[in-house]
């Protein structure tokens, strides 16, 4: 080979190659970028921007992506990311590792009080979480961080947050009217068909053990180990988590419990679990609550239709 490797050849050759590449794969994508905001785009408020800086300072992007892909199922998967969603993001916070949930559409998923409890210690609201506790940030920074997170999803988040606020008022009113009225109100929000359905599974020891496991993984943080609503998250949440013992004698059917666990109670800190838990898991955690905390289970009562093949 006659190509002589002089210092000039190495340095200039390298720079020329790099210049061509920078032009092609850095400058050109920038010059032809999409600046058209997407349909859900809006600018962030001043408080949301401040919260975003706290998010950046603490490396939240190391565990949370903001990048919904075609193949995703989880939180936010209703909206595949578009270039126009990011037009105000400087820097963009796509993330590269998804240890925690993607947050593209986190806004309005929960009311503010849930987020405060979650930031104080994530395991208060999500017993399986491995996120660090953020109590050290102090109330003001947690408030700003909450504002940022509640804005994730832009206009879609705003719609959800409005819904949270609307139902928050109603649920507080019901709670403050006392246990009798509160339970009545809660039941009345469940479609009639569901109210009449007893838990179709029989109460078995194995089923209760499985229900116990689900309860520990998803419910114990708010409702507490004995189901009295005095979990670790309780001091931050209003209306407070439901004390299951007040349901006794007030007609809480298996169907009502199932419906509440599945869909959650928007406006309160009670999230929906239909993404996380399949049907059997919801019925069994419902029966665990009914047997242990309400002391009143309708499991395996009529009408239950044709018996399932696997039942003992």
């Amino acid at each position: 080979m006659n190509l002589k490797m002089t210092p000039t050849a190495v340095v200039l050759g390298g720079i020329v190659i790099l210049a061509v590449i920078v032009f092609g794969v850095v400058y050109w994508p920038w010059a032809t970028r999409i600046e058209q905001p997407s349909a859900i785009f809006r600018h962030r408020s001043a408080e949301e921007e401040k919260g975003r800086l706290i998010y950046i300072a603490n490396g939240c992007v190391n565990c949370h992506t903001q990048s919904i892909r075609l193949v995703d199922w989880g939180l936010g998967a209703e909206r595949i990311a578009q270039a126009g969603d990011y037009v105000a993001d400087r820097p963009i916070l796509l993330g590269s590792v998804r240890t925690g949930p993607d947050l593209s559409q986190e806004g309005g998923e929960h009311p503010d009080d849930w987020h405060v409890a979650h930031f104080i210690n994530p395991r208060y609201t999500r017993p399986n979480s491995i996120m660090p506790a953020w109590e050290f940030l102090g109330n003001e920074k947690i408030r700003l961080l909450t504002r940022y997170v509640q804005g994730l999803g832009l206009k879609m988040a705003d719609r959800r947050l409005e819904r949270q606020k609307f139902w928050k008022k109603k649920s507080i009113k019901a709670y403050e009217a006392g246990p009798e009225k509160n339970v009545q109100w809660l039941h009345s929000q469940v479609p009639e068909g569901w109210r009449k359905i007893p838990n179709p599974y029989p109460t078995t020891k194995a089923g209760l053990v499985r229900g116990h496991k689900i309860y520990q993984d998803f419910c114990i943080g708010c409702h507490g180990p004995v189901g009295d609503g005095m979990g670790l998250a309780q001091p931050w949440i209003y209306p407070p988590p439901l004390n299951f013992t007040i349901l006794k004698g007030r007609g809480a059917s298996g169907g009502i419990l199932y419906y509440k666990i599945m869909n959650g109670i928007t406006g309160t800190a009670m999230p929906y679990f239909k993404r996380e838990l399949e049907s059997q898991k919801i019925w069994e955690v419902g029966d665990y609550i009914a047997v242990n905390f309400i002391d009143e289970s309708d499991a395996d009562q009529e009408p239950k239709g044709i018996d399932a093949a696997w039942e003992p």
Binding site: I21, P29, R33, P91, V97, P101, P132, E135, F218
Partner: protein, 431 residues
């Protein structure tokens, strides 16, 4: 390396026991992880590889380093930079862009440091007594000047506050940079050092200088433009993704050229590699280079990435490239030049061997565990399972991961002790 890997270990423990170090701001995972990656890249690998480079280049050119004083000044400057990175990221001064988190003031210092290093190198080359430039000199010189450019562009230093562009172009430029921290900084330096250590340890001329040429230029052309393979599932321009995927697969070419060149040089001389601990580290690094750079093109394929993206699979891949390849070569390079610098053999060959196996076992185990976790995560996501269902599934793997991290940190501590003893209190035989 000790602090860098220790931070990795603390991070790994936090993934298992998140409340263990509860509510200590500078020790939350988000900051720990950032400090870990930055210290490993800029605190351990960059100075280690550059220091070996500063020894190798004058030796290959039969001359002295242009300015020893400038060199010492750069070392001091670099230590200030690393301390500043450590402190700023710990107290939450971050730009939030992976591997480009350091704030603008530090970015400027890094650029100045690289400019000074380049001046020192190019002047050394000018003063050379040896007319021919050996391949190590090409790689090290190109790595320094191109990193200076890539670092400045990637950190968007013309925007002092945010240090970022806006929207999708910011992701494109970030991964252009993030990929080239490996492609144009760590890889050329490590390959350049391996090009010195391997023929030198085996006392054999390089297998082919033609292959060196082809490997060098194809690396510059291919490695530097494929960063967008980090964004295949993001609304970035499709043509850019296609370019990056094609280029990623093309990466097999420079990698295989270099490895064929190394391994044919070693052919029949493996004993000499085993006998020299420095060469052993470096040779092991070249094996990891193969693994990393075969896996890399495969996971750039969209079909594969649907499963692996965002999961710990990628974390395993990064550790393979950073510690397995660059790290092994950096440690080996230091062990290889120490006896030549001090005139005495290293303090303890046994400790160095022990370190070798601690890091090798720790790293291989780490890769197996993290790849497994990545597959669990990827399959679960595709199956519609949520994060809170998957976290308990990967809990036990994370415990093993932290355990393997202990091996790596122990290896680092032993290495530090051995190197300090070799330099300052070495009563060993003269080499």
């Amino acid at each position: 390396m000790v602090i860098g890997t220790l931070y990795g270990l603390v991070g790994a423990i936090e993934l298992v026991a998140p409340d263990l170090l509860g509510n200590i701001g500078w020790l939350v995972f988000g900051r720990i992880r950032t400090v870990h990656t930055n210290l490993v890249v800029f605190g351990f690998l960059t100075p280690a590889l550059l220091s070996v480079g500063h020894f190798v280049v004058p030796r290959l050119l039969r001359t002295q380093l242009f300015s020893e004083k400038l060199g010492i000044f750069i070392v001091c400057l670099w230590n200030v930079i690393v301390a500043a990175i450590f402190i700023t990221l710990s107290i939450g001064l971050s730009q939030g862009r992976e591997y480009a988190e350091a704030i603008w003031e530090i970015d400027i210092l890094v650029a100045i440091a690289f400019a000074l290093i380049f001046i020192n190198m190019i002047m050394t080359i000018r003063n050379r007594q040896e007319p021919l430039l050996y391949v190590s000199v090409w790689y090290i010189t190109a790595g320094i000047i191109l990193t200076l450019i890539v670092y400045a562009i990637g950190n968007v230093i013309w925007v002092p506050g945010a240090g970022a562009l806006t929207g999708i172009p910011d992701a494109v430029i970030l991964w252009f940079y993030g990929h080239n921290v490996l492609g144009l900084l760590l890889t050329p330096l490590a390959v350049g050092i391996a090009y010195y250590v391997i023929p030198s340890a085996t006392r054999t001329p390089l297998y082919s200088h033609t292959l060196s040429l082809a490997g060098f230029w194809s690396l510059l052309v291919l490695y530097s433009h494929i960063g967008t393979h980090h964004l295949i599932q993001v609304p970035a321009p499709t043509w850019l993704k296609v370019v990056s995927i094609v280029g990623s697969i093309g990466m097999v070419i420079p990698v295989m050229i270099v490895l064929i060149n190394f391994w044919y040089t070693v052919k029949g001389k493996m004993r000499t590699i085993h006998e020299n601990i420095g060469a052993k580290f470096v040779f092991t690094g070249t094996v990891f280079y193969l693994f990393t750079c075969i896996q890399g093109p495969i996971q750039a394929l969209p079909q594969v990435q649907r499963l692996t993206h965002f999961s710990n699979w990628v974390v395993a891949h990064a550790h393979m490239g950073i510690l397995g390849f660059s790290g092994m070569v950096a440690i080996g390079g230091i062990y290889f030049i120490l006896p030549k610098m001090t005139g005495r053999s290293i303090y303890s060959k046994t400790l160095a061997e022990f370190q070798y196996w601690m890091i090798l076992i720790g790293l291989v185990g780490f890769m197996v565990v993290l790849t497994t976790v990545g597959l669990v995560q990827g399959n679960s996501w595709l199956n519609g399972e949520t994060i809170y269902r998957i976290l308990p599934q990967i809990h036990n793997y994370n415990i093993v991961r932290a355990g393997l991290g202990v091996l790596i940190v122990t290896g680092a501590i032993i290495g530090l002790y051995n190197m300090v003893r070799s330099i300052f209190f070495n009563l060993g035989e003269t080499a």
